[in-house]
């Protein structure tokens, strides 16, 4: 199996440990990876803030860069949702027929990490070891746009040593929403406060998710409030083994 990694802008810049964990995990499972050093951003922030021409140019850049990939793996459900839900409309608007064809053939080969593991590789037990009490936060894009369903739960259930604590009101947004978190900072913070009450009630050591954007939001408030809980991307839990535990992630 060969796959191309797409480590989107904020993961490359802010959360390189997630990308490194995906590499460790997939190589352990025998996947041959490549990575385009020219890759940057999926265009989600531009599309969701109303900058459509800009979003289109980034969409075109992504399609052209990955059109020959066997599979594209992205450890961020909101970026995958951007590609699945918005690229078609952006490309249609420009009437670029050759780009549309390239996109249509590429789309079935674009995967969120948990989809790639379960649907493509057919593994649930990835051989991970993470002896901690963990709760899982379902990001809105993973939950609704990608309908990931129980995939994250099935992966976590097979991690040795892991004590999974269910999170109440799993389907409620953490209040991040990209530029929403600064354009409507006060409302976003009120949503976050309510989410953190549910997260704190789990008494977990770690809160995990498939989107570092939600985790950056929740983790930022946890740090501000001196909470004794940390955030960690699911890829880092799955990459963790007895020999090589997850990198310290504060």
């Amino acid at each position: 199996m060969r796959a191309s990694l797409f480590i989107t802008c904020y993961n490359d810049t802010l959360f390189p440990e997630t990308g490194r964990a995906v590499v460790a995990l997939l190589e352990r499972l025998g996947v041959v990876l490549d990575f385009h050093p020219q890759q940057t951003c999926c265009g989600q922030m531009h599309a969701n803030t109303g900058f459509r021409p800009e979003a289109f140019s980034l969409a075109r850049r992504f399609v052209r860069m990955y059109q020959d990939a066997e599979a594209v793996v992205i450890p961020s459900s909101s970026c995958v949702a951007m590609i699945r839900e918005q690229y078609a409309g952006l490309i249609e608007e420009r009437g670029d027929a050759s780009l549309r064809r390239a996109f249509e053939t590429l789309l079935p080969r674009v995967f969120e990490l948990s989809e790639y593991l379960i649907d493509e590789l057919g593994v649930e037990d990835v051989g991970a070891y993470f002896p901690h009490r963990v709760t899982y936060h379902a990001s809105c894009h993973g939950l609704r746009a990608l309908a990931l369903g129980d995939r994250p739960g099935r992966l976590l259930a097979k991690v040795r040593g892991l004590d999974l604590v269910p999170l109440a009101n799993l389907d409620r947004c953490c209040g991040f929403g990209g530029t929403f978190s600064v354009k409507n900072g006060e409302v976003s913070s009120a949503m976050l406060a309510e989410k953190l009450r549910d997260v704190a009630d789990t008494r977990a050591e770690y809160c995990t998710a498939l989107d570092n954007s939600c985790l950056m939001h929740m983790g930022g408030a946890m740090h501000r409030q001196f909470a004794g809980m940390k955030t960690i991307h699911l890829a880092e839990i799955l990459a963790s083994t007895e020999g090589v535990p997850a990198e310290a992630c504060a």
Binding site: A47, N48, T49, S181, S189, A190
Partner: protein
């Protein structure tokens, strides 16, 4: 006086032309714990009821698809169905009036009331009348208006505004209702138990039902095939209005039309379950024109456009008009849950309000509303007519951004500038990598010894007012990958 009791001095502004932008309008609510508690409790109760009833319906998704298809078909053939409605309604003794905008609708209604020599009028709950700000207009013309829906009475007597389209007084709790009733109805020792409160409202209403010569109501559906009007409600006060006065005026948006009587089979099922979490709403009134000796002698329908045709003309936005005003989107919305309805500065709050209001305002007002969403998609998931609200929100954001980006003031706005620079950076990897280095140095100035950023200037302060930000790591992923030894890593394992 109870601090949480609405007071005229801080009466919410629901006129989108004059309301403050959403982030500003949300502040008083966020700082009012009683109000937030009332809203969260109310939406939790309705949502739990809805979820139970949706779950018991094995064909719920098929019902949603059917409802969406019926509404979409009606809208695609709106002109034909409206004309058919007019023909059939007129044949049954009704009179149909066409209003292009709020001004025309208000004037038509006032003329009808003058013709009836009516000095007072009773009303069934109708958000459409709030949309055209009918009450203040009639009152200025010297006509007394009495709301008859329990929630609307609470708001009218409390000099407050609706915060939800199905439960307009959802933000008021029962001790606040007791206070309003006791003060405005002059009842001493009024208890706050629901029976006592409804009894007080009943006494207040009865004489008005018997006295008022004219009632004004809305419509849940207009049936083209028969020329009938359908109104659903929970209290029966609407039915009093529909049957007792000698003249009935129905104000309805042009999008309310359904092709066939039989379409109600689907629509009433999804509406009751979505709106109030009931299998069937308690009162469903259906009537066709006038019937001598039974109910009103004169019946008028005012069909209101007020920007709806313009929405119909846009491909993505058209679905907005499928809405059957069930309010499920606001009950499910995590933003509405925090702010309630008043922050939206419109009689249509929540996710549907965030897309409907700016469009009704021809994108000239309420421009902060399409941004008042985290795009979580909960609204789309519950919508019984499958309006893809996030998709419309994003489209409206693009319309607003296109308008704004040409304005000089916006060129130096940090968000606009940032996003325009960002696309240049993301288009060239070397620029992106340089920007990452610059950001690491820049943010490094704000990073404390613990490796975290606690305070940022400008737009960053919106983040750091409640959240820290981890300082940028020393090495990006792509730099790590390059150090790992380019081609060698392609071998894997």
């Amino acid at each position: 006086m109870n601090a949480a009791t609405p007071h005229p001095a801080n009466r919410p502004v629901l006129d989108p032309a004059h309301a403050p932008p959403f982030p500003v309008a949300a502040l008083p609510v966020l700082r009012n714990p009683q109000l937030r508690k009332n809203v969260a409790h109310a939406v939790d109760v309705i949502q739990a009821k809805r979820a139970r009833l949706v779950e018991e319906k094995a064909d719920w998704q098929a019902l949603r698809s059917a409802a969406a298809a019926i509404r979409a078909h009606a809208l695609e053939n709106l002109g034909a169905y409206l004309e058919l409605f007019e023909t059939r309604c007129t044949a049954a003794g009704g009179q149909v009036h066409w209003a292009a905008d709020a001004d025309e609708a208000r004037q038509i209604i006032l003329d009808l009331l003058r013709r009836e020599c009516a000095s007072e009028v009773i009303k069934i709950k109708t958000m459409t009348s709030a949309e055209i700000q009918l009450n203040p207009f009639l009152e200025a013309a010297g006509i007394e208006v009495f709301e008859t829906d329990l929630a609307e009475i609470i708001l009218q007597l409390g000099e407050d505004e609706p915060s939800h389209i199905v439960a307009p007084a959802l933000h008021v709790n029962r001790s606040q209702v007791r206070e309003i009733f006791a003060r405005r109805m002059g009842i001493e020792n009024l208890s706050d138990n629901p029976q006592a409160l409804t009894a007080a409202a009943r006494n207040y209403l009865r004489e008005k039902f018997l006295r008022a010569p004219v009632a004004i109501g809305g419509a849940n559906f207009l049936i083209a095939e028969t020329g009938s009007v359908a109104v659903v409600e929970s209290e029966g006060n609407g039915r009093m209005c529909l049957t007792l006065p000698r003249t009935l005026i129905t104000l309805a948006g042009i999008e309310k039309v359904l092709p066939r009587y039989q379409d109600l089979e689907v629509m009433l099922q999804v509406l009751a379950r979505s709106a109030t979490g009931e299998r069937m709403n308690p009162y469903t009134s259906l009537w066709t024109g006038v019937t001598p000796g039974d109910g009103p002698e004169r019946f008028h329908v005012v069909l209101l456009d007020n920007g709806r045709s313009r929405i119909l003309a846009r491909r993505t936005e058209r679905q907005t008009l499928r809405c059957i005003r069930c309010g499920a989107c606001m009950n499910a919305c995590p933003v509405y849950r925090q702010t309630g309805g008043h922050a939206y500065g419109s009689v249509y709050p929540g996710p549907i309000g965030a897309i409907l209001t700016p469009q009704l305002m021809q994108m000239r007002h309420a421009q902060s509303l399409p941004f008042a969403s985290s795009l979580c998609g909960a609204c789309y998931e519950v919508c019984p007519v499958k309006i893809n609200i996030p998709e419309v929100l994003i489209d409206l954001r693009a319309q607003i951004t296109d308008q704004e980006r040409s304005r000089m003031g916006r060129v130096f706005d940090p968000m606009y500038l940032g996003l325009r620079v960002a696309v240049l950076i993301f288009s060239r990897a070397w620029l992106f990598h340089s920007a990452q280095r610059i950001a690491r140095i820049g943010l490094g100035l704000f990073t404390r010894k613990d490796g975290w950023i606690h305070a940022l200037p400008s737009i960053g302060a919106e983040w750091t007012q409640t959240r820290d930000l981890r300082g940028l790591p020393k090495q990006t992923f792509h730099a790590w990958w390059a150090n790992r030894g380019g081609v060698a890593t392609r071998e894997g394992r």
